[in-house]
């Protein structure tokens, strides 16, 4: 029997990843002890992953505005204008911890999540990329992780039907206990066909769509913000399983529904699905939300409200619907054989209320849940930078040929065909440049223009000097987009760092971010979306600072695109640049 009113002990608080002072903040905010469901909701809303409590202060310093920026950070994905009434919508997101625990499913659900972020906004995804960092090639876990992650990235994207047109793979001992899986997706929509999460109107139906809710990943969002240690085995059952088949139908159903004018607001369910999505929709719209959990489609028996509010089951969406179109909306979802349930209503009381078996199990101030989340100015120290190498520190090469072969065969230099040949890079028929070149390029359907994109970061550089490394990642992405003939417009980032509670790691974060910001300003290359993944640390060893950048640019005429291959015998080869 589920007990909502159990005693909230310090142990329970700490198991929810909440610090004692954070719990005091909750008490002050609601003026009483929270129920168990409420504690779960706070833990989901206030963990690092959802609240950005360690990084918010610094993210605000990034340049996010530009002539072509339609929507910057804050929505599911960033939006840029690409002319003719078209917009490109894109974002990158990490699934590092889940992929380390279960590489195949971790990677699939990462790809699934980022695709949903894009089509939630009304865009059909037309390109995907991924940036993968693994431990040393001969580390006992590496082979298993690489095989699982690559198969998972492909397994989801290929089935969903989005071309994967680029990415990166690297190996380094500092990822031995913590691989990185960053997934990027980009979609296309019309400028007047963008959908947002802000709920509007009182008394409107809140509708649950997609797959049923199970106990998948209960506590997962909290896990993604906790450092790993050897108790990791115990956290295993929280693995979510991705279902690209359901997601593909969800995509088609959502896009079909959006055309009918029935959608007032829409939000995908990612980490801590129902909680974060409902709170975000309400808070943004200055509205309360009441959810009736007995109407939520459930896959498992006897689910508690606590489990339902924290479930991370994939392939689900929440929408606020235009009431007159409810029947029409339902028909679309039935056609695609997806669950559809009116499970809540918008209210004018600014409360987030959860009803279960006729009882109210949570009643919280909706805006404060997000706005009053703790925000930290974590102490940081200037990170150690590596001293420049002396000119004679590296012995001269005697046998250039042998050195070249070694270089080309090095794990970080060798051909990536074994990875990208497992990804469908052609589906949709618009791929102009597939993996193997400087940037991936896709044509915008029905036009002669195309979008170029490239994922870049060199964590070795960031480790040696976070500021310069951050700058370099932006510059490299810019160069790659330019190299195919694209005009860089904006970028998304995925900031993967170690434990922010350690001043040295926090210093790496701060300095890298400053470097990124400086490069973005210098290049007039704004950041329109992104994701932060902290606590990438195992047994006290942090990863290399890894701020992945994906820059996006426009080619007005795809027939003018440049490619990497030499074209003819006797052509002259020029070296340009500094």
């Amino acid at each position: 029997m589920f007990q909502n009113d159990i005693d909230i002990t310090p142990d329970l608080i700490s198991r929810h990843g909440l610090k004692p002072d954070e719990y005091d903040r909750i008490l002050r905010l609601i003026g009483r002890k929270p129920t168990l469901t409420e504690l779960g909701i706070f833990s989901a809303m206030w963990n690092e992953h959802c609240s950005y409590k360690s990084s918010k202060k610094w993210l605000k310093t990034l340049p996010t505005k530009g002539e072509k920026v339609v929507i910057g950070p804050g929505e599911n994905a960033g939006v840029i204008d690409i002319g003719d009434g078209d917009v490109a919508i894109f974002k990158m997101e990490s699934h590092n911890h889940p992929s380390y625990i279960e590489p195949y499913q971790g990677a699939t659900t990462g790809v699934g999540g980022i695709l949903r972020d894009v089509f939630t906004m009304g865009a059909r995804p037309i390109a995907a990329m991924n940036s993968l960092s693994f431990g040393e090639p001969d580390h006992p876990k590496t082979r298993h992780l690489v095989a699982g992650v690559v198969a998972g990235v492909g397994g989801y994207g290929n089935s969903f039907g989005v071309p994967t047109i680029g990415g990166e793979v690297r190996f380094h001992a500092r990822y031995n206990g913590n691989c990185l899986v960053n997934a990027f997706a980009l979609g296309i929509a019309k400028r007047d066909g963008i959908f947002l999460s802000e709920a509007k109107g009182v008394g409107l139906p809140v509708v649950y769509l997609g797959a049923k809710t199970g106990r998948d990943g209960v506590g997962g969002a909290t896990m993604a913000s906790a450092e790993f240690d050897d108790t990791i085995e115990e956290k295993r059952p929280t693995v979510q399983v991705g279902d690209p088949f359901t997601e593909k139908r969800l995509l088609e159903a959502c896009l079909e529904l959006m055309k009918t004018g029935a959608v007032v607001a829409i939000q995908d369910m990612g980490a801590a699905g129902l909680t974060c999505s409902a709170v975000e929709m309400g808070a943004k719209g200055n509205l309360g939300i009441r959810l009736d959990l007995d109407r939520v489609p459930q896959r498992e028996e006897d689910m508690t409200p606590y489990e339902m509010m924290l479930s991370e089951s994939q392939e689900r969406m929440l929408m606020v619907l235009e009431p007159s179109k409810e029947k029409e909306a339902e028909a679309v979802f039935r056609k695609w054989e997806l669950d559809f349930a009116v499970c809540g209503v918008t209210t004018d009381d600014l409360r987030f209320r959860i009803i279960w078996q006729g009882k109210e199990v949570a009643n919280l101030p909706i805006k404060e849940l997000g706005d009053e989340a703790p925000e930290y100015d974590r102490p940081w120290v200037e990170p150690k930078t590596a001293a420049p190498l002396a000119d004679d520190a590296i012995p001269a090469v005697n046998d250039v040929g042998a050195a070249l072969i070694r270089l080309m065969g090095a794990p970080d230099q060798a051909s990536r065909a074994w990875v990208y040949e497992q990804y469908d890079c052609l589906v949709q028929g618009n791929s102009a440049q597939i993996p193997g070149g400087d940037a991936g390029v896709v044509r915008v359907e029905g036009t002669n223009k195309a979008l170029a994109m490239s994922a870049d970061v060199t964590p070795r550089y960031c480790d040696a000097d976070p500021f310069e490394g951050g700058k370099q990642a932006v510059a490299e992405s810019w160069r790659n987009v330019t190299a195919v003939g694209g005009d860089p417009i904006a970028l998304t980032d995925n900031l993967n760092f170690g434990n922010p509670e350690k001043p040295e790691a926090m210093g790496q974060f701060v300095r890298a971010l400053q470097g990124i910001a400086e490069a973005c300003r210098a290049l007039n290359f704004p950041i329109v979306s992104g994701n932060v993944s902290l606590y990438n640390e195992t047994n006290g060893v942090g990863i290399l600072p890894s701020p992945t950048i994906v820059g996006v640019g426009l080619l007005p005429d795809v027939t003018k695109m440049a490619t990497i291959a030499f074209k003819a015998d006797g052509d002259e080869v020029l070296l340009v640049g500094g």
Partner: protein, 223 residues
């Protein structure tokens, strides 16, 4: 040439196929939902690529039992040309319209790359625009393209010239028996193939080798 593309839940190269047919024949194909029990009267029915029903149970198995497929079978029997590409090929074998089965790729991985195809038989409605023995370029993108048939079936396919395409020059990407990439039914009006001719039909794709297949069907109808 009038054509129809059958859309199953999980199809994902339907759009590519529609574009290819439109581009080559000048007429936009009709898209038919898999629940429709009757297909329109057309000259060519296409089952597109993708992951119908997520490839769950067996690739193509669940789609092969959908209402539209009963009509596809009827129309195939009546001589209407039917083309199944990739998942479409898997559906045709599962529906019994073509013999054999498509198994998991020998290396067990999804493979997306360009291969070489030998036009083994150019005396068919689908291959007339090519020369016999011509080697064309064509991309593949699949997880289960490893064609298998028992020895008698195989002997019959080979003996009757029903192997339309073979992977050439050592490019067999999946372990397919006899390097088989595409086969015909006995009457020659149903073709199933793993490679994607619809993805090599314009300059953007880096070549035009896939057009011949659609041109062949169009001209065979005109004749």
């Amino acid at each position: 040439m009038r054509s129809a593309v059958v859309l199953f839940p999980g199809s994902n190269r339907d759009h590519d196929m529609v574009k290819a047919l439109h581009s080559v024949t000048g007429i936009k194909p009709t898209v038919v939902w898999h629940q429709d029990a009757t297909l329109p009267d057309v000259d060519l029915i296409v089952l597109p690529g993708g992951f119908s029903y997520g490839d769950y149970l067996r690739c193509g198995a669940i789609a092969a039992r959908s209402p539209a497929m009963l009509d596809v079978a009827r129309k195939a029997k009546a001589g209407v040309r039917v083309l199944g590409v990739c998942n479409g090929f898997q559906i045709l074998t599962e529906a019994g319209l073509l013999p054999g089965a498509l198994m998991r790729n020998a290396h067990l991985r999804f493979v997306c790359k360009e291969v070489k195809l030998e036009v083994t038989n150019n005396d068919t409605d689908f291959t007339r625009a090519y020369a016999k023995g011509q080697v064309i370029r064509c991309p593949v993108a699949h997880h289960d393209g490893n064609y298998f048939a028992d020895p008698e079936t195989l002997a019959r396919l080979e003996g009757d010239g029903r192997v339309a395409f073979r992977y050439a020059e050592g490019t067999n990407p999946n372990g397919s028996i006899n390097d088989i990439a595409g086969i015909l039914n006995e009457a020659g009006n149903v073709l199933g193939m793993m490679p994607h001719p619809e993805n090599l039909i314009e300059a953007l794709h880096g070549g035009f080798d896939g057009r011949g297949l659609f041109e062949s069907v169009a001209t065979s109808l005109a004749a």
